[in-house]
Symmetry: C4
Subunit: 240 residues, 4 copies
């Protein structure tokens, strides 16, 4: 560890552990996928578990990385190969405080089609800010699809631009939020919207939210994230 690393707020660590478990319970991630949060004491650092299935992540698995995705506290553990997704987005987007990377089936389905993912209802209003797409071939040609280098992480962050979600062709999705709770909220409702949109499109013309409705829907839902979070956290931590 190059320099002294501040201790993150304990509640933040609790929420990050909960986020790992919630994302698994809600089938946003499976054995793979990961979620991080920007350090509350130093925005040049972020917190992410060592390599482990999200459904198993515990407090002891959490490590601190700098924005080049070099581990500051990881002892005798392997980091996720794709940690650069997190570090490079935190570098490029000061407003982002949490990043989720996942292979959620309904989102992967949109990743491999040209159909735009658009908000059907207020719960996924954030999609109205746009859904970015990432084609790894443009940066690196024929690959194993993973963003496992700084350059690929940076290319992904560039594709994301000012959006909150990027669909990665042949791979999965990366979703951001102003907090770990908001990132989880976005992931869950992006996946639900994708499923409903596929069904709706098969019935004919779909009435999407207008841009203004989408933005207002996003704002109101962002304010009420704690109502869902209280439920999700209790469930995912086995308390109910």
């Amino acid at each position: 560890m190059a320099q002294s690393v501040p201790q993150p707020d304990q509640a933040l660590l609790d929420d990050l552990v909960a986020a790992n478990r919630i994302l698994y319970k809600k089938e946003i991630v499976d054995g793979l996928g990961h979620v991080s949060v920007r350090h509350d004491k130093n925005p040049q650092l972020y917190i992410l578990a060592a390599e482990r299935a999200p459904g198993l992540v515990e407090r002891e698995d959490l490590a601190i990385y700098n924005l080049d995705s070099n581990a500051q506290t990881l002892q005798n553990r392997r980091p996720y190969n794709e940690r650069f997704i997190h570090g490079e987005i935190y570098k490029a987007r000061p407003d982002v405080h949490s990043v989720i990377h996942c292979h959620t089936p309904s989102l992967v389905t949109f990743c491999v089609c040209q159909t735009p993912l658009r908000p059907l209802y207020h719960m996924s209003g954030f999609l109205g800010r746009g859904v970015a797409r990432f084609e790894i071939r443009e940066t690196a040609g024929m690959t194993d699809m993973l963003c496992s280098t700084p350059a690929l992480g940076a290319a992904l962050a560039k594709s994301l631009a000012d959006k909150q979600i990027v669909l990665m062709r042949g791979h999965g999705a990366t979703i951001t939020g102003q907090s770990v709770k908001h990132a989880v909220l976005r992931a869950i409702y992006a996946a639900l919207n994708a499923t409903m949109q596929m069904d709706a499109m098969r019935m004919g013309e779909v009435m999407y939210l207008s841009d203004e409705e989408a933005m207002k829907g996003m704002e109101i839902n962002d304010r009420f994230v704690d109502r869902s979070w209280a439920l999700w956290k209790l469930e995912a931590m086995g308390a109910i």
Copy 2:
């Protein structure tokens, strides 16, 4: 509290708690959504939980509102923003004794399409009385989609008219019943009917119930609601 509020029947409160849990377990609501019941001692009052995820609602969360949706007993808690859905429907519809508001995926899918939701089988016969639609733009232009004012609640109640369900574009559904058990029954089978109808329409011409079959089916099912309720309540309360 402006005046003396009568104590509701304890069994009614038990059923309302159960309804919250059942609707969550059956995936009619998620972290959001709500269910209310008209007060058994005073039809100018209704009972609804304070702001909380339905899956977590307990007896202590229940509060009493008048039909203007002003809380009569809510202490140090926030009410649901959309409580006006409940109050305004109770005002307009003396026959309604329970109201459910939800974002059930299969129903939201119909909310954003023009395809009419129609009864496929006796269990959803009540759809034969018609499925109302609510377009919030007609009342309030570009909004966050929520019915969070008395005027919007009243507009929704007007759209509902004499039906038992109203599909709200870009938002969700509101479902009524002559009791909390019947409202839950309708919500569960409306959602199932929606899922089956989408599948059936993809196979070709669909044979819907006639109006007479739908009404007779509704009547017989309404008489046997206790059979399902006994199961649902035991499950949702963790007794089995």
Copy 3:
């Protein structure tokens, strides 16, 4: 009780209770639906629970009926309104020793479409013997869709003819077997076949089993019903 009623084999009663629970756990029935077995000591009798959700049925709920569906042992309990489905099929079909009536979604979907339900694989080979259809309007005009009279039960049995499953328009399915285990096996795989067939038809031309393959598949699967039953029963009775 008009005459002395023999005591059924205890293992048969155990299996009937298990069948109720299995059908619920596998989502073949919900709060409604029912399953019966022909009496092992007297083929003019059958065993069926008193009115109760199948997922809750216990040994004490079981009652004995004659083939006119008059209860021989039901004390202070209500019978299912549609018990005539069971009695009339047992009358018409000496080879049938168990009857299931259900509203399984994937089967209801086929009930309201003209598309024939056909066997995709050996597990549903029994569909190769044909899938009957019942249109209640032909017997009784506009009804509540229920087979709640002897005449309607008899009409259903006539529609079933020599098949093992009948799809009832706007209602559900009735499935038979040479034992309660076989009836459960047929119900589970009929529902699965329906789901897969809907998906397969959307991909283009479907290769169904030939009649000979279907019959041979049915025979081999009928011989191995105990392998699945052992698992299903342990699960449904909460033993694993």
Copy 4:
């Protein structure tokens, strides 16, 4: 037992029990289906449970077979009728160390359609090596669809050729791996890919992985199989 049979590694047996349970929990198998592993001490032997639902398989159920699928250690138990699927593939394919046979719904759906199953994302990259098809009629005419003889097992192995998965018309799938963990990984992601591909095809043109991407995706995922396995095993064995 014709000759002395070496004792397999205990960890291998543990993993084989876990594989049975995982495949059930992940709905790759139901009451039927089976999974085997090549013996670690003698490649002319393999290990497979006696006839039992995979979800119930315990260490005591495991038996050792030679490559002609004659049981070497099975005492008073019946073998699976289709054990020849395993033995004949081990004979033909020295690189294969584990075989899964299943009737997974999403895979059966592809079995009965002409649509090629192709890799959508890195997790199912192994599909890029090709998906074989087996038509039992070519070998044996009208059958019960089962590979229950050495000749049918050999015909299946011939259809598999150098691929890792073979879709058996009107029956199910057989999937191979270089270890039991890899076979389970392939089964789970083949099934998921099938489900997503059906959805994607309904949205229009699908962007599949290129052959090179598929191979590289397979290689990277094969290296990280332990991350998912740790989760799956704990879950399936009831440890979490």
